[in-house]
């Protein structure tokens, strides 16, 4: 295991490997998001209860998945950074944080827009909504902490520990709809039996999820490259 970890820790090798796949990933993201939008807006039926507003789901649910996925990625990367002093792991955690915060914000905003016609209110303080809001705060706190030090090395170490501590919130969000009686509906896709969503709605949903994930990976690579270049600029400036 450590061997594989160290093999990918070399920034130059990362750049060499990432550059050729980046255009394909971005293309894949554009294509699947476009297809998902087409199927979601034009080629899928309106819900018999919710009407046209159900289409908000095709953005809301994948964004919420990504909000959790990104934080999990950050926590894993932070763990790898603390254990193996893996420099790229730290950069990817830092690069992922603003993206995750943006996904969380999208999930919260679309959820609020969906809640107004369906529940008759923009916001309720139920367990799912509140725990996702806390996730948003955790993202902001992480970013503030990482940038709060004059010495960037210190910032990344402290940020990594915070990311791991904050991970307790992720299972709470995931299971909040099962543990508490919430207004938010329980999981309909990841269930032991078949998903409780019709295939015509499942298709755009999953396409959007794939598109968001590809988008996340492409922007992550871009941001890691940016961080690497920033690091290089810093070390050049230090020589002067």
């Amino acid at each position: 295991m450590p061997n594989i970890v160290h093999k990918f820790a070399n920034p130059a090798r990362f750049m060499r490997m990432a550059d050729p796949v980046l255009p394909w990933l971005s293309l894949g993201a554009v294509v699947s998001i476009t297809l998902a939008l087409y199927f979601g807006i034009f080629a899928s039926p309106a819900d018999y209860q919710q009407g046209e507003t159900v289409r908000i789901m095709y953005v809301h649910v994948p964004a919420a998945w990504m909000a959790l996925f990104t934080y999990t990625t950050m926590a894993l990367a932070s763990g790898a950074f603390l254990i193996w002093k893996h420099p790229l792991a730290d950069l990817s955690a830092q690069a992922a944080a603003p993206v995750g915060a943006a996904f969380t914000a999208i999930a919260l905003i679309t959820g609020s827009l969906w809640g107004q016609p369906m529940w008759g209110t923009w916001w309720v303080w139920d367990a799912r909504l509140t725990s996702v809001l806390i996730l948003f705060f955790l993202y902001l706190g992480y970013m503030a902490l990482v940038n709060g030090f004059d010495d960037p090395e210190r910032g990344s170490k402290m940020g990594a520990i915070l990311a791991l501590v904050g991970f307790v919130n992720v299972p709470i969000i995931k299971f909040s709809v099962d543990w508490w009686n919430t207004l938010h509906q329980p999981a309909s896709i990841s269930r032991l039996d078949a998903p409780a969503v019709d295939p015509s709605m499942l298709l755009p949903l999953l396409l959007m999820a794939v598109g968001f994930k590809l988008f996340f990976i492409s922007i992550l690579i871009l941001r890691i490259k940016m961080h690497l270049l920033k690091k290089r600029i810093r070390s050049i400036q230090m020589i002067d």
Binding site: I134, F137, L138, L140, G141, A144, L145, G148, F149, D150, R154, G155, K157, M158, I161, L162, V165, G166, V168, N169
Partner: protein
């Protein structure tokens, strides 16, 4: 054992000699709680419904105010490095520091809370669970706060940062603390939320000093 006594004695006498620090936290607690009746109106019934939340939010905010001094002074004068280099486990040192922090902030807050609850017209049946939830909840704030204080040590604007980091993590304390008081004021048994608080306390005693020690070791490396 000797080491524990020495550290606790040293920190306690430091706080005592500075004097005002611990007192300021208590005053902040009283002032914050006083603002609520002015803000939401002095109607005794409204205040009675809000009392549990007001007291707990006041306690949380007041405790936040005091967290950054947990390690800051030791960090500034270099004694933190000596504590880290000492042969005793750093986790134990952290636990002692948390205990002193609780004795000088959590305990006064807990003792003051029934008086404020009285001014907020809290039901008499709720006092026992108020004290119980404070007794179990305020030590958790000190322990979680130690994690936050170690994380922000040496950063710019550490006081604001620590609040931003720790407040989201203290939400369970607030939830169970308020739930215990509500149960008490409605005449139910408050044992379930109090047991949850106790469980959280033991979790924090086990985990927080360890995480804090890891962060502190990064500070001097």
């Amino acid at each position: 054992m000797n080491c524990i006594k020495t550290i606790i004695g040293r920190d306690l006498s430091l706080v005592m000699r500075q004097g005002s620090d611990a007192f300021v936290v208590l005053i902040f607690f009283v002032v914050t709680v006083t603002l609520f009746p002015l803000g939401v109106g002095p109607d005794p019934l409204i205040l009675q419904n809000l009392a549990s939340g007001i007291v707990w939010i006041g306690a949380l905010l007041a405790a936040m105010l005091s967290l950054d001094r947990l390690f800051q002074l030791d960090y500034d004068d270099g004694s933190l490095e000596l504590l880290i280099l000492s042969p005793y486990p750093l986790e134990l040192v952290v636990l002692c520091k948390c205990l002193v922090h609780w004795l000088t902030t959590g305990l006064p807050i807990m003792l003051m809370s029934p008086l404020l609850a009285l001014m907020l017209n809290m039901k008499s049946t709720a006092y026992l669970s108020l004290i119980g939830s404070m007794a179990l909840g305020t030590p958790i704030i000190s322990l979680l706060g130690a994690v936050g204080a170690a994380l922000v040590l040496g950063s710019r604007r550490s006081g604001v940062l620590i609040t931003l980091l720790i407040i989201p993590l203290t939400i369970p304390i607030l939830l169970f603390g308020v739930a215990a008081i509500q149960a008490g004021s409605e005449g139910y048994s408050a044992s379930a939320p109090l047991m949850f608080l106790g469980a959280l306390l033991f979790f924090s005693i086990a985990l927080c000093p360890w995480i804090t020690a890891i962060s502190l070791k990064q500070v001097v490396s």
